[in-house]
């Protein structure tokens, strides 16, 4: 849901709000564009003038150093002016409404907003109210979507596995609260991955998740069998004990990715994680730092993918 807002009548991307409803062609166009920027990032001078003179506002209503930094680096490598605003709390506690904040920034001639917000749908609301020609990139909204993360994961998978149509991909852990998992699932299905599995206890899988086209596993050993790609999700500290889980230790025992469990997957399986890692909870150090792990390349490709998204939105790629 949201594809109607983010693609115009000519099929051009005007906002990036969710991977749901994006065409395979558009996703591949973003990945192909990103691959050109990967080589830029390997050069001595890591800068191209594509977005010179453009103002990009990173508006983060929810704190995140990592994601904000990667967007900032990506924008700077495109020669854009970057302004970071950490609003850090929900719009309702600020006195000023979300839209007032956005309208004020728009009056400062913003060309693009990169938005993170604790409420699902906040970037949609902004996209509906900005002037034509101003673009919105969703950098994470509640549990709903984190499309650039989903796309950088697709980039990583394609880099290592080439053909999406022969893969078995497992997503393990707290799918319920994960916007990353949702963005991955939509993109994987669109790209033709025949089997996407989610693995976790019933308390951490959202209702009717199989309607998204995934198969559900509660037994990790069974779920990992013959997987090509294993994606572990971060388990937030506040969810490690309470009504959803008894303890981090018990979660680790059942769903933590250990070398023993990973042995069920294919010998050349890759292991991914959106970060930051909880070592010893959802993933063991032996796996995170081991030969299957592509967690650091994910971060590297993240810059290129965000450059590609911003360049395409600005109409220069």
């Amino acid at each position: 849901m949201g594809a109607g807002l983010q693609v115009d009548s000519q099929g051009r991307l005007v906002h990036l709000l969710t991977t749901e409803g994006l065409s395979a062609e558009m996703i591949l166009h973003i990945l192909d564009t990103a691959s050109q920027f990967v080589s830029v990032n390997e050069r001595e001078v890591k800068k191209v003038p594509l977005l010179r003179g453009k103002s990009i506002f990173n508006v983060f209503f929810e704190n995140s150093t990592r994601t904000r930094t990667t967007f900032e680096i990506a924008a700077k490598r495109l020669s854009a002016d970057v302004i970071n605003l950490n609003i850090g709390s929900s719009s309702t506690t600020k006195g000023e409404t979300l839209l007032d904040t956005v309208w004020n920034l728009q009056a400062m001639d913003a060309d693009m907003f990169v938005v993170r917000h604790a409420e699902a749908g906040a970037p949609h609301l902004i996209a509906r109210h900005v002037k034509p020609g101003v673009h919105v990139v969703n950098a994470g909204d509640g549990r709903h979507a984190h499309p650039t993360q989903g796309l950088l994961d697709m980039y990583t998978i394609r880099h290592y596995k080439r053909d999406f149509t022969r893969l078995v991909v497992a997503i393990v852990g707290d799918v319920l609260h994960s916007r990353v998992a949702r963005s991955q699932i939509h993109a994987l299905k669109t790209l033709g991955v025949p089997e996407v599995r989610v693995i976790g206890p019933k308390t951490l899988l959202p209702a009717d998740v199989e309607r998204l086209g995934v198969s559900v596993f509660h037994d990790m050993a069974a779920g990992l069998r013959d997987c090509d790609v294993v994606i572990t999700l971060r388990l937030q500290n506040e969810r490690m004990s309470g009504p959803l889980l008894p303890s981090a230790g018990e979660f680790h025992k059942a769903y933590g990715l250990t070398p023993e469990k990973l042995a069920r997957a294919k010998p050349d399986a890759i292991v991914m994680h959106p970060g930051p890692l909880n070592r010893g909870v959802e993933i063991d150090s032996g796996v995170a730092d081991g030969r299957h792990s592509v967690i650091m390349p994910q971060v590297t490709y993240g810059i290129a993918v965000r450059m590609a998204v911003m360049a395409i939105l600005a109409g220069n790629a």
């Binding site: 699902a120 609301l125 549990r143």
Partner: protein, 432 residues
């Protein structure tokens, strides 16, 4: 718009298709009104000389609608709406009697507030207002309100609105106390813990949109508790705003056991479901949440087969600012008084019901729930009625609404059926 005519005016309504759901009457007969009452249907009383004749050719005349839930936002919430604007909306929608929930600021938990509201409403001389008192002080779910005093001040029942009532001992005692004096306890079945933090029905849509969910069991678990307590205490209970198919089945079973029970459904829930949330449309943020298609279909059938007594507008005017925020932060609710008739007509047509049966769910049946003398067109009754054109299409937009609330899931859409004239006590209070 409003003609302030003397109450003793004699009116002759000609050529209307007169429908009185309570008696089953559906025929074209003249209606004669004098001294604020219907003096005759059919033959004119001897020597009747009308001061005014209304030619209602092509129109339906039915009892004024009775709405079980209309928030007038007074006292305390006048920035959303005022009594003046919402009472105008009521009569523009053909509503001549309405029950208002106690979720004002402060809540309707003391007689002074209720008397003030009744007096203010009466001074406007439009629809009749039947306040529902707060079941507990401040709707805090701890101490009983003074039900006796509140009833004397005019409360027709005691409601906990959408406020959480987590302590079942308080509910048990409230029912015992209410049963002692024959008061009706109104409850919207929702377990506060199971619904905590949720903003959308738990299912595929909430999963896709990443919206915090409210599971269907939040309603059914609460229903089980309420039905057990009602049976144990003998309290008369009204269940407000059913939203699930299982809830409808539980109510049907309880009624079959002979429990003194009534219930209602909000009009939006007859027509919309969780898919209509679309891309986080804040107008679809309602309480209870829009559930799935099967739930919606069960509500539609339940209203048709009598398991559900009445449909209400669940009128909740919200200011624009409170809707121009992300879905989860949006103030729930929708303006409804002026859409009640078209939406109930649409439901009736889709269910292929006779017009009289359709109209019963907004006239005689809700009047029965409230235990008030309204909702029928019998001779000698107060002349509360409305005339409407059942085929007239109109577009729902801010300019077409009298309510101060412009928030509706139906904004921009065409609906069919529009009130042309509303009478209360034989006075023309609206003519459009």
């Amino acid at each position: 718009m409003t003609e302030d005519l003397a109450a003793d005016m004699k009116i002759d309504i000609r050529n209307a298709r007169v429908i009185d759901p309570a008696s089953g009457r559906d025929e074209t007969v003249p209606v004669f009104i004098a001294d604020g009452r219907i003096v005759a249907l059919g033959a004119a009383p001897d020597g009747f000389r009308p001061d005014r004749t209304i030619d209602a050719t092509g129109l339906v005349a039915c009892p004024g609608l009775v709405d079980l839930a209309a928030r007038l936002r007074e006292p305390g919430l006048e920035y959303r709406a005022t009594l003046e604007s919402e009472m105008q909306a009521a009569v523009a929608g053909g509503v001549t009697s309405l029950a208002c929930p106690p979720d004002t600021d402060p809540p309707l938990d003391e007689p002074g507030l209720v008397e003030m509201l009744k007096r203010r409403a009466e001074s406007l001389r439009q629809a009749r207002v039947y306040p529902l008192g707060a079941l507990t002080l401040g709707l805090k779910g701890q101490k009983l309100s003074e039900m006796g005093e509140l009833a004397e001040a005019g409360c027709v029942g005691f409601f906990h609105a959408d406020a959480p009532l987590t302590d079942l001992n308080v509910l048990l005692q409230a029912m015992r106390y209410a049963a002692t004096f024959g008061h009706t306890v109104w409850l919207r079945p929702q377990d506060a813990h199971l619904a905590h933090g949720g903003v959308a029905h738990e299912g595929e849509v909430s999963t896709r949109l990443g919206l915090p969910p409210i599971p269907a069991v939040a309603e059914t678990v609460a229903l089980h508790a309420i039905l057990e307590l009602a049976e144990a205490t003998g309290a008369r209970v009204h269940l407000a705003r059913l939203s699930t198919a299982r809830g409808v089945a539980l109510v049907a079973a309880a009624r079959a056991r002979g429990l003194a029970l009534t219930c209602d459904v909000g009009m939006h829930h007859l027509h919309l479901c969780d898919r209509d949330v679309g891309d986080f449309n804040p107008h679809m943020r309602l309480v209870p949440p829009l559930r799935d298609q099967r739930d919606r279909d069960a509500l539609r059938r339940g209203l048709a087969d009598g398991t559900i007594d009445a449909v209400c507008s669940d009128h909740a005017p919200v200011d624009d600012d409170a809707k121009q925020v992300p879905f989860g932060e949006a103030e729930p609710g929708a303006t409804g008084l002026e859409l009640l008739l078209p939406l109930v007509l649409q439901w009736g047509a889709q269910m292929k019901l006779p017009l009289a049966a359709t109209l019963a769910s907004v006239t005689s049946r809700p009047a029965g729930v409230l235990g008030i003398e309204a909702g029928t067109l019998g001779e000698g009754r107060a002349a509360d009625l409305c005339l409407f054109d059942e085929a007239r299409p109109w577009i729902v937009d801010p300019a077409s609404l009298a309510s101060q609330g412009r928030n509706s899931p139906f904004l921009g859409l065409e609906v069919t059926g529009r009130v042309t004239t509303t009478l209360v006590d034989g006075r023309i209070v609206y003519s459009g």
